[in-house]
């Protein structure tokens, strides 16, 4: 079993004092920003990118991964106590968990989500360990046409499956792709769409876009519409420990939640929201007390929390093996790889096994750390929720401007930051999702490279994308995702008529 040898070597890397420290920093930071409303893992990684450019890649990536799944752990705390989901994957937790908190059962709700996240995260990491080498083996057959088709599939799922409107999702995606065009063209070495501005020759940095959309846009939106809003926080009532009955009602939902979350994360199906909703519906159906749902049923917290953690770990499968991000945070981790001149994919596994397997091993360790950070120390994190909102958003903006300015000490990046922030404000106001912009921006240049490479090999013959069987299947899948719901509606309408 070569996998286990590689994993053992990975543990050798992850268990060095230095990398353990990075893992702990990442998990702690992840939990903190998960708890804080208004700051998510994608924003945090974006802010840290300029500051970590000179660090050792393995340590930095271990930290970023810790931020990624630490944010999932921490998000549930805010969802349960404040009923404001820190991110969309915690919406279901907010519904049910806040009801538990209102009935003085905040403790067990926090415990079942923390232990459930741990169980799901660990199982999902095990599945990642087993699955990654298989996908890598398969991906070795991929040429430029297959990679391009794969990216098209990721584009369509990220922008249409997620969110409330496929049209607005696609708009966001194309905007992201358009922003990705700006700068010097990698193949012909000509400047494109720079409007003659020297600062734009290097392109628009993903850090500025992510921070502009997530920090400036969001802050403007909240200031404009919710500056005077009052929030009520539930008390940390009840024992933090779960009763025998709580355990009995939680363990099966944890496993079922994992079973929903992992596959959704690992196929490029976009986001952790859908599996949380599906697992919630499953528990409601299977429960002997369906009437408790909506009134604080522990299953309704346990399963979705397991699902969102399993899904976020699952999304590391396409990210590491194919270089394909399916969420904004995964896209930022891809940007981190690129910062160190690394491109995730089969060659990453072949060329830098210590880094990849060290990273995977760190996930096992990080899950244990997070369990400890979140269960006994939850009272500490709750204090973060008491930061007054003027200070919170003032602080967010301070770090946002620092992140943009830190790139190359240019006021122009701050100008872009505000302009993109205004765009983000409008997107939020009119219901355009942000994640497709980020994924489009980072994958756009890569997909163009593969597109042109495939056409160069085929001497400009466009049929190359359907002539290769794998590529053809992927493109048909993308088309099905895109046209499926529309065809279904049309079919229903014509049958009724």
């Amino acid at each position: 079993m070569e996998t286990w040898t590689l994993l053992a070597q990975g543990f050798g890397v992850a268990l060095t004092l230095q990398n353990l420290a990075w893992c702990l920093i990442g998990c702690t930071l992840g939990t903190a920003i998960g708890v804080l409303p208004g700051v998510g893992p994608a924003l945090t990684i974006a802010l840290l990118l300029p500051a970590t450019a000179k660090l050792d890649p393995t340590g930095a990536l271990i930290m970023f991964a810790g931020i990624y799944y630490g944010g999932m752990f921490g998000g549930s705390t805010t969802a349960i106590l404040l009923n404001t989901p820190g991110e969309s994957a915690s919406i279901v937790t907010a519904m049910e968990g806040n009801q538990m908190a209102k009935r003085g059962r905040a403790g067990p709700a926090l415990a079942t989500s923390a232990i459930g996240s741990f169980v799901a995260g660990t199982i999902a990491t095990l599945l990642l360990t087993l699955l990654a080498p298989v996908v890598v083996e398969f991906a070795l057959q991929f040429g430029p046409a297959e990679y391009f088709a794969l990216m098209v599939l990721a584009f369509t799922t990220v922008s249409t499956v997620l969110g409330s409107s496929a049209l607005r999702g696609l708009t966001s995606l194309f905007i992201g792709l358009a922003v990705g065009l700006v700068g010097i063209d990698a193949i012909s070495a000509q400047p494109r769409f720079t409007l003659g501005i020297a600062e734009l020759l290097d392109g628009i940095d993903i850090v500025v876009v992510a921070v502009g959309l997530f920090a400036v846009g969001e802050t403007l939106y909240l200031a404009a519409y919710y500056a005077q809003a009052e929030e009520t926080m539930e008390k940390m009532g009840g024992s933090i420990w779960m009763s025998r009955d709580d355990w009995k009602r939680s363990w099966k939902p944890w496993l079922r939640g994992t079973a929903w979350g992992f596959p959704f994360g690992s196929i490029p199906a976009g986001g952790a929201e859908i599996p949380t909703f599906l697992s919630y519906a499953t528990e409601k159906k299977l429960s002997r007390h369906p009437e408790e749902f909506g009134q604080g049923a522990i299953e309704g917290v346990a399963a979705p929390e397991a699902a969102n953690n399993a899904s976020s770990t699952g999304s590391l499968v396409p990210l590491l093996t194919l270089g394909l991000p399916t969420s904004a945070t995964a896209a930022m981790i891809l940007a981190a790889f690129q910062q160190y001149g690394l491109q995730p994919g089969p060659t990453l596994f072949a060329n830098t096994p210590q880094l990849v397997w060290g990273l995977i091993a760190s996930l096992y360790i990080g899950n244990v750390m997070l369990l400890i950070l979140n269960l006994p120390l939850v009272g500490l994190w709750v204090k973060l929720l008491q930061i007054p909102r003027p200070s919170l958003y003032g602080g967010i903006l301070m770090f946002a401007t620092l992140g943009a300015y830190g790139l190359r000490q240019s006021w122009f990046d701050l100008f872009l930051l505000y302009a993109i922030g205004l765009a983000g404000f409008l997107m939020r106001r009119y219901g355009f999702p942000v994640a497709p912009v980020i994924v489009g921006l980072i994958l756009g240049p890569l997909s163009e490279q593969q597109f042109r490479r495939a056409l160069a090999i085929s001497q400009g013959d466009m049929s190359v994308f359907v002539a290769h069987p794998i590529s053809a299947v992927l493109l048909v899948m993308a088309l099905a995702v895109l046209a499926g719901p529309w065809l279904l509606r049309w079919f229903r309408r014509t049958r009724r008529a």
Partner: protein, 158 residues
Amino acid sequence: MSERAGQLTVAAGVLLIGIALAIGAWLLPEAAGYARVSVRLFPGLIAAALIVVGLLLLREAATAVGFRNLPEEPRGRLNWPAFGWVSAGVVAHMALIAGIGFIAASTLLYVAAGRGFGSARPVRDALVGIVLSAAVFVLFTQALTLSLPWGAWIPALW
């Protein structure tokens, strides 16, 4: 601006970006001798896609329902003063950072944003802002070797 006018404006904006991109793609100089794939092709495809979604958005916005399935939020009227304070903070920071230094510009931003979110204690905010940005300055310039402007008017401490 009414909801409908806003949606129409946003949709028209998307369409305009698409058209601008199409013109830009058309004007790209063709790279000589590159294997039969025009440099205009990929940007052209994105421009075409933006024009299509822009038109579809315009069509949605023009109907009585407007954009489909907008998330429902208990949103009140736009609070212009709050929006203005936050914006002013960011813009002032951009204009002033090179001159007055990181700490002063960040403190200004912190106070303005706090004001936007309803803080009534600017002096306390300024003190917190100075301490916070000074700590960040030391951390980033000393530990992470990022270079940030100190501000020529402040005498150097080291």
